[in-house]
């Protein structure tokens, strides 16, 4: 009898998981909200249940509805994807209680790994950590911050994906943001537990991909994730240009030691801050991650497949010595956002034409005519390029970005083009402050752009945009940093000719 799995998520990750399921003779099913009833991801599953609702709290976070859907569809397994309930202990326990297999770590492991405070306590036995303390109210937060010393970062104990995070440099600032962080944490993760931690300025973010079962923990190398805005990753690459062979050995061994302490038994990631040649444990991500793709490209390991092997009790079917990394891979997260301000921009996509070439992978559940709803996150496609060397991979990524056609909504493609042309990126010498100093505009194409603007045909469709009503965005259009952007239209036209 074939195994049936419910993918309790939405968007590209449903398609991604369904793809591996089909390979393994596991039949994929999914759920969808009222807002997603015309979304394309549903079509990659054998059948689906409308669980209603629009906002996550009324749809993809509704455990009762999801469990009912799994039963209705006669599923044996539940894959939570990333975000939503992926690291929710209550949900994983509920699945077990209802006789469903939760594709993720065991409840015992999740109790530790899914809680930033506990994970740090356990990790501190085998890894360096930054000073920090759990706080239940503003006064406690102020006291803890005073002990640690500013700047400090406020984090949600149950958090992830950058939500709830606040960096503060003073008492006033901490007092001001405490409640909004608490609210965001409650909305996003159903828990308002926060903790205060010493903030390391401009570090790199490097994480190690781990696979574990009840007898072994192995690693699939690291990912460099320093290019972020609002603590959300935009570009990831592997291997990290910052690590020497010795450092790589040290960071991966430390990650394995932490996961062994937790008795972690599925795919997971150990995140580290890396600064001045030293790394500090930050957190464990107890799920498949958005950026798992680049690790798959260089190692050839299907991470979702290993998740399913572990969840069904068969254990990993690879050993550490089977893992051989080859070449380089980069992922650009294409979001439906204003390319300069990163303000989310829901709307309808006119044309959606991803690039096609050898070494280019696009993970998406979007096509021309699709609507991007304001209820969920703004990721619309993951563009992944791999090549023999880092330089080849950067070149392939640039060409892929130039030829990726998305119209009807603005996307972060212009941001990625600027980033990939930045000398700091080319040299591999960047950290989490990369975006602050990024040159976003070209000063070379002014005449061409003027000519286009003055000769626009009357039937051109203008999009509605009220973004510039916001003075914050206006102030970001200061054009103070346009001078050295070396790139221009004519240099990127060869793929379009």
């Amino acid at each position: 009898l074939a195994t049936k799995i419910l993918i309790a998520n939405r968007g590209e990750i449903v398609r991604r998981i369904a793809k591996t399921c089909s390979k393994l003779d596991v039949i994929p099913y999914c759920i969808y909200s009222e807002a997603d009833k015309n979304s394309l991801f549903i079509k990659y599953c054998k059948d689906a249940v409308n669980i209603g609702g629009f906002a996550p709290a009324d749809s993809y976070l509704r455990m009762d509805k999801i469990i009912n859907a799994a039963k209705q569809l006669d599923c044996d397994l539940v894959h939570p994807g990333y975000g939503f309930l992926a690291e929710n202990l209550e949900f994983s326990e509920l699945c077990n209680k209802e006789g469903l297999v939760f594709v993720g770590p065991s409840s015992e492991a999740l109790k530790i790994s899914g809680d930033k405070v506990r994970a740090k306590q356990v990790a501190s036995r085998v890894a360096p950590v930054l000073e920090g303390k759990e706080v239940s109210n503003q006064d406690e937060a102020l006291r803890a911050a005073c002990d640690i010393g500013y700047p400090v970062i406020l984090k949600a104990a149950k958090g992830g994906g950058g939500r709830g995070l606040r960096v503060t440099k003073s008492e006033e600032e901490l007092s001001r943001v405490f409640n909004s962080s608490k609210n965001e944490s409650m909305i996003g993760f159903g828990s308002d537990r926060l903790f205060v931690e010493r903030y390391s300025e401009d570090p790199r973010h490097i994480e190690v991909q781990i696979l574990g079962d009840n007898s072994a923990v192995i690693h699939l190398g690291e990912r460099e994730c320093s290019i972020q805005r609002r603590h959300q990753k935009l570009i990831e690459e592997t291997p990290s240009p910052a690590l020497t062979i010795e450092m790589r050995k040290s960071i991966t061994e430390t990650a394995i030691a932490i996961m062994k302490e937790i008795k972690y038994d599925n795919a997971g990631t150990v995140e580290f801050l890396f600064k001045d040649g030293r790394f500090y444990f930050m957190e464990v991500n107890s799920r498949i991650q958005v950026e798992h793709t680049i690790t798959e490209e260089v190692t050839g390991v299907d991470i979702v497949e290993q998740q399913l092997h572990v969840a069904t009790g068969n254990g990993l079917n690879i050993k550490q010595e089977d893992v051989k990394s080859k070449g380089h891979a980069i992922e650009c997260r294409i979001n439906a956002e204003h390319p300069l301000s990163f303000v989310p921009f829901p709307g309808t996509v006119d044309t959606f034409l991803p690039p096609e070439a050898i070494g280019v992978r696009v993970d998406t559940a979007l096509s021309s005519g699709c609507t991007i709803s304001p209820f969920y996150d703004s990721l619309i496609a993951k563009l992944i390029c791999c090549g023999e060397s880092r330089i080849d991979t950067i070149e392939s990524m640039k060409q892929s970005l130039y030829s990726f056609r998305i119209s009807g909504i603005p996307s972060t493609i212009p941001f990625h083009i600027s980033a990939l042309n930045d000398s700091r990126f080319l040299e591999g010498n960047y950290n989490t402050s990369f975006i602050d100093d990024l040159k976003r505009y070209s000063s070379k194409d002014g005449e061409i752009a003027s000519a286009i603007l003055c000769q626009l045909p009357k039937k051109i469709k203008f999009m509605k945009n009220n973004l510039y009503e916001d003075p914050w965005i206006k102030s970001n259009l200061s054009f103070s940093n346009i001078s050295n952007f070396s790139h221009d239209l004519f240099s990127n036209s060869r793929w379009n000719a």
């Binding site: 056609r405 119209s407 990625h416 999009m463 973004l467 003075p471 036209s493």
Partner: protein, 143 residues
């Protein structure tokens, strides 16, 4: 006519079908969203109706404006994006400073801050906590 692109001004002369930019003739041929310039093909991915407008050509960003002196409306605060209001930090009669956060909006699982476009007194407030709003909706008017 003058246009502004990414902060620089350009002089435009239009003589019949011909267009000169800073004295240089540049002919642009459109076919739907495809653009031919000097035998090369480009794509107009995006252009909006804002002032200044965001124009994306082949994935490159241009902030363009046909009038070199953009006018700004400072009598109203419109929400730039759809979402749900999670906090209103001001009340009618309050004096606010330009750039001051007045409303917190939740959209795409993130909190966005709406700032006052002007230093003025609030005359009307059309925003309540929990209310769903559409992009372009006026939330605050100023005296």
């Amino acid at each position: 006519m003058k246009v502004k692109v990414n902060g620089h001004n350009y002089n435009i002369e239009m003589i019949g079908q011909k267009v000169r930019v800073n004295g240089r003739q540049i002919s642009v041929v459109f076919n739907e969203n495809e653009i031919m310039i000097k035998g090369k093909k480009f794509h107009l991915d995006y252009i909006d109706d804002a002032e200044p407008a965001l124009m994306i050509v082949n994935g490159m960003t241009y902030i363009v404006s046909k009038s070199s002196e953009p006018t700004e409306s400072t009598k109203q605060l419109k929400t730039p994006l759809s979402g749900r209001i999670v906090d209103v930090l001001v009340k009618v009669g309050d004096n606010v400073k330009k750039g001051q956060t007045v409303i917190v909006l939740e959209s795409m699982k993130m909190e966005s801050y709406l700032h006052s476009p002007t230093t003025a007194k609030i005359s009307e407030l059309m925003a309540q906590i929990g209310q769903s709003v559409k992009s372009g909706q006026v939330l605050v008017t100023f005296v």
